[in-house]
């Protein structure tokens, strides 16, 4: 827990540092007509760094030694996270429909051990329904890839 606490605080401080840098560029003063663009970001970032510093001290002094996450807990978490990240990555290149078909099919088979028939039925019908609802009916364009282009979209 302590290590995770320290890392999170450090990352947040780093982020605040970046904000601080840009705030200075924008001007942190109080102009004639109220604060300049960088005024609020500057103070937000400054207080953030100070607060995180105290959190770091707290964690060092009395952080709990219990692990942030046990191996048994992490395994299922990753089993959800990685395929989801994979789906987003594939969407970037192949569009949402193909990616969601692959993702749903893969997940059902890999985690759920559903029958191939069910896998095929759902992984094809869900993207198809999504396509009809969004592209055809609501006219909301979703990310598309070469497959949709091949079909004329």
């Amino acid at each position: 827990m302590r290590a995770a606490d320290l890392i999170t605080a450090a990352v947040l401080m780093l982020l605040a540092g970046v904000v601080l840098f840009d705030a200075v560029r924008l001007g942190i003063g109080w102009g004639t007509d109220g604060p300049k663009s960088g005024f609020f970001p500057f103070w937000l970032a400054t207080i953030m760094i100070a607060t995180c510093a105290v959190i770091v001290l707290q964690a060092l002094r009395r952080g709990s030694a219990a692990p942030f996450v046990t191996r048994e807990q992490l395994a299922p978490v990753l089993k959800v996270l990685w395929p989801a990240a994979g789906m987003v990555a594939v969407t970037q290149f192949l569009g949402l429909y193909v990616a969601s078909a692959l993702y749903i099919g893969f997940y059902m088979r890999w985690v759920g051990r559903h029958s191939w028939l069910a896998v095929m039925a759902l992984s094809l019908s869900i993207p198809l329904v999504t396509f009809l609802v969004f592209e055809k009916w609501l006219l909301v364009p979703l990310p598309k890839g070469p497959f949709e282009a091949w079909l004329g979209y």
Partner: protein, 506 residues
């Protein structure tokens, strides 16, 4: 102008075609409300071109019905999956989702829908009776007043406290920082974009919420194994009747929610702050605030009543003044112009059939709407029975679609994933998420209003004290800010033990 036209209005609302249009609009709205990211504003905008071939009376009924549907639908995913379908449903997750995990999903949904209806009905009655009068009150709210309201919402909610105050502070700061990314409309400068085009849009509140609450919650809950909890939800309509039996107990919360919602809604302020504020007050006034956040029905009633009251009230400035009280109303206003109507104060005089037809359809729409969603409670609750390996990818895909649809931007889908991991880590480390979300939603509005006010006063902060409405609201807000400091001191003075911090609102 007069209310005598309400009969004419009902005549229009009860035309078979208009009733049919209302049902279509409501069904679409419920679907759009369920899909996170695809909010009422998008839904109305999407349907707008289709309304061209309809008479304006039916067109507005279609669009407003869709909006009511979205207001109802927003609660569904909040309760079932901790994913707020709409911004104003965030506060509904605080108690709705724990209820679902305890197997009371049906009760939570019934509570949410019923409160939505009560809030809507209350606002509709007020609009019917006082529309033109209230419009003038809305005009009194300039930037200083709007800022003071944002300030009040924030102080009322943050004061609820709990956990490590330093970590709450970090959450708030992070929310404000994320809200500041993008264009600063006051100076027209780009902030914290570092020349990256994707950052110019900034971080959308709804994307952050889908990630932090939705994805984050899935990650957290699977730690104990790959399954969902709360399957034992009641599956028949009995649960509706059972819930109705206990709801009258919360009559105070209903009334409070109605007033907060209406008051916040009929001027630019909005349903989202209203829902947070109503939740805060419900908890403050409750005899057992420690139960909030753990699955208390009252914690669902409060935000939903206010959100729907505000959502309906947002129509008021649109009808009477031609100003949008919400993003959805802004799109409808565009619709009015496209249909050849001139929105604004003259509408009551020039097109009484349109205005009163719309007002009457608020009654019919919300009554049909609540019956529709209540009838489907068992169905919605049954969604949790879908096997884990099917439901999980389905939720992730829906979240991805929602995140994308907000700005038609792939980067938002990545943000969703990153926010998901952030939500998981923050929750494990006891950083509360709700203040972050509230800061993100209020940050932009509040900063703009604050700086507009300061420009108006040429840099002097006294503008918040010298304008009567702003002054009063600011004073109340300051009171809530110092309340957490005063409370233990006050209790000690009265010789009572202080109540310990209660972890709650996330």
């Amino acid at each position: 102008m007069g209310i005598e036209n309400i009969a004419l209005g009902f005549q229009i609302a009860f035309e078979p075609f208009n009733l049919f249009v209302a049902v279509v609009g409501l069904s679409l709205g419920i679907i759009i409300g369920v899909l996170p990211g695809l909010g009422g504003a998008n839904g109305v905008a999407i349907l707008l071109p289709l309304t061209f071939r309809m008479p304006p009376n039916s067109a507005i009924i279609l669009l407003t019905s869709l909006y009511w549907g979205a207001l109802f639908g927003g609660a569904i995913t909040s309760v079932l999956f901790n994913i707020p379908g709409e911004p104003w449903s965030v506060a509904t997750t605080f108690d709705g989702y724990p209820m679902a995990r305890k197997g009371q999903g049906g009760a939570a949904l019934t509570g949410a829908f019923t409160s939505s209806f009560v809030g809507a009905f209350f606002s509709t009655v007020l609009i019917t009776l006082f529309a033109p009068l209230l419009a003038d009150v809305a005009l009194k709210f300039g930037p200083p007043e709007i800022f003071s309201i944002q300030f009040l919402t924030f102080s009322a909610f943050v004061g609820l406290g709990g956990g490590n105050p330093l970590k709450s502070l970090v959450s708030i700061l992070l929310g404000f920082i994320l809200a500041a990314v993008g264009l600063d409309i006051v100076t027209g400068q780009l902030r914290m974009t570092f020349g990256i085009a994707e950052l110019m849009t900034g971080f959308d509140f709804i994307v952050a919420v889908i990630g932090l609450f939705g994805i984050g919650e899935i990650l957290l809950s699977v730690e104990e194994g790959l399954s969902f909890k709360g399957v034992g939800t009641g599956m028949n309509l009995r649960v509706v009747l059972d819930t109705w039996k206990v709801l009258p107990r919360y009559w105070r919360t209903f009334i409070r929610g109605c007033f907060i919602g209406f008051w916040m809604g009929f001027k630019p302020g909005g349903a989202t702050p209203a829902s947070f504020m109503s939740y805060s007050f419900a908890k403050r006034f409750s005899k057992n605030p420690e139960k909030f956040g753990k699955g208390e029905l009252e914690g669902v009633v409060a935000p939903e009543t206010a959100a729907h009251a505000a959502g309906v009230a947002a129509m008021l400035p649109m009808i009477t003044l031609g100003i949008p009280g919400s993003p959805t109303a802004a799109v409808m206003l565009g619709g009015l112009i496209i249909w050849g109507l001139q929105p604004g104060p003259m509408l009551f005089v020039e097109k009484p059939d349109f205005v009163w037809g719309l007002i009457a359809s608020m009654y019919t729409g919300n009554i049909i709407g609540v019956l529709m969603v209540l009838a489907f409670v068992p169905f919605f609750a049954a969604i949790l029975r879908i096997p884990f390996a099917i439901l999980t990818p389905l939720i992730v895909v829906v979240c991805a679609i929602g995140s994308y649809a907000v700005h038609n931007n792939m980067i938002d889908v990545w943000y969703m994933l990153i926010f998901g991991v952030l939500g998981y880590v923050f929750k494990k480390l006891d950083y509360p998420l709700a203040p972050l979300v509230l800061a993100l939603v209020l940050g932009d509005l509040a900063e703009n209003a604050l700086r507009q006010s300061l420009i108006m006063s040429q840099g002097s902060l006294t503008i918040f004290a010298t304008r009567p409405i702003a002054g009063i609201i600011t004073a109340v807000a300051l009171f809530f800010f110092v309340l957490p400091v005063l409370t233990p001191w006050w209790r000690r003075l009265r010789g009572r033990p202080s109540r310990g911090g209660v972890t709650t609102h996330d």
